[in-house]
Symmetry: C2
């Protein structure tokens, strides 16, 4: 049975999409089938794996609305064994359109049910918000991976995020667990080191051993529509995500 | 009459809050009265100027819901002539609560009306989304300043943002103009230079001459609750925002 992990943080620009794409690619490179679900109307996960958003026939939005089954939305990518359920701009409307709908928090969970046996890993890329799209992702997931930039504002939002996770655990998805907190964009500064010390003190084992360094290849790779292990395997960014993939599997 | 500028981009982590706080502080340091409006439920602008979010009595949420006039929400900050209308977590609920409300896009504009003559500059910090909170900010504003990180995903989202701005101009706020596009977090890489070339080609004069470099003091200052010109005036970050403030005034 596939492991479903939501990658979340309401703070913007902290490496959610970069982590979803690169973890998915590492799992695929290791011979497992992996699926990305792009739950962000920005569609960065979709374009980051080289899909042209204007050419998409069906998207995650339609699967959430129940118009199309999720397996008809899924596209293959340039990476063997890595598929994606792409997102388009329509997804912006889902929040307001689902306000009065039945089971509004369970839409993604229901759509994913038939696919759980098909993929070894399913990674859900969340938007920078604690809105209905993120709640759908947390309700569908077995675990949540929180990406945490080693900076002040990112640390500040962590407690609210963890409160949302526990509310989802209590009411919508009792088996949801915090798989781990991933420190991203690390650079050797007092600020980064201070943040790491704080986080390890409060969350201990929950913090992955692997730390993702700030590394320009991670910002360059998406402009070529490629995950970093295919863009530059020898880079620090690629090595870090390969190490993270091993850790995620061992915690699985 | 005060100039009202919304600082917006649905892409997360591109320097919206950092720009709002530091522009506001530069105007205040130059002897003008400046007001920050924190329209992001994350409340980074609020904590970035040293306000304890747990001690706030009234917030922007109540002003939008019409429960309290905006001037009763406003707090002074540690910087002379710089005030803030703080945000709390409640703001997350505003989007759903205003769905069926009258004039839902005009709530901030109406709340700001009595204050326009009091401040020389009003900067609205937007959340990383094109939701009702951002639309309220664009409807209340005279101009929009788009912060653009010099990276691939940030560039990708620019056309959608500009489309939203023109829709707001057509339907809700005909006098809204694009004040300018600010290039942020610049570092000397091929990627950054490529993005700058693309943006200047498409938007020409609309791109501010001032470019904000990636500079660690800009990430450190908020952990002391201080704008960068008070944290380290000699830093590249402080110099860049002082230059930007002069440009914003000249375009005003
Ligand atoms: N470790 C890293 N080193 C350098 N750049 C990185 C790193 N991780 C991500 N980036 C770049 O930083 C920017 C933000 O990352 P990303 O878009 O993955 O964050 P996000 O949390 O998904 O953002 P959003 O909140 O907008 O969805 C992107 O331009 C990305 O290419
Ligand atoms: N020029 C810069 N150089 C280095 N760090 C910066 C710079 N500008 C902002 N930062 C830091 O980068 C992070 C993102 O900036 P900021 O929070 O201002 O972006 P934002 O667009 O407001 O994010 P969000 O989308 O979450 O609201 C913060 O930790 C901030 O301190
Ligand atoms: Mg993203
Ligand atoms: Mg912000």
């Amino acid at each position: 049975m596939g492991q479903v992990i939501a990658i979340a943080n309401q703070k913007g620009g902290v490496g959610k999409t970069t982590t979803a794409i690169n973890l998915g690619a590492c799992m695929a490179a290791a011979g497992r089938r992996a699926l990305l679900i792009d739950m962000d109307p920005q569609g960065n996960a979709t374009s980051g794996v080289g899909i042209d958003r204007n050419s998409i026939e069906h998207s995650v939005y339609e699967a959430l609305m129940g118009e199309v089954p999720l397996d008809e939305v899924i596209l293959s990518t340039s990476v063997d064994r890595l598929d994606i359920a792409p997102s388009t701009r329509d997804l912006v409307g889902a929040e307001l359109e689902l306000v009065d709908a039945d089971e509004r928090e369970f839409r993604l969970r229901a759509a994913l049910e038939p696919l759980r046996g098909v993929y070894g890993h399913i990674f859900i890329d969340c938007p920078p918000s604690l809105n209905l799209l993120t709640v759908n992702a947390l309700t569908a997931a077995d675990g949540v991976l929180v990406t945490l930039q080693c900076e002040y504002y990112a640390l500040e939002g962590l407690s609210e995020l963890l409160q949302t996770v526990s509310r989802v655990q209590e009411v919508l998805n009792p088996k949801l667990e915090l798989q781990g907190v991933l420190l991203t964009m690390f650079q050797h500064t007092n600020l980064s080191s201070q943040v790491i010390e704080d986080v390890r003190e409060h969350l201990g084992e929950k913090v992955y051993q692997t730390i993702i360094p700030r590394n320009i290849t991670l910002a360059e790779a998406p402009s070529f529509g490629q995950p970093v292990i295919f863009y530059d395997l020898r880079s620090a960014g690629a090595k870090a995500y390969l190490a993270l993939a091993r850790e995620v599997v061992s915690r699985g």
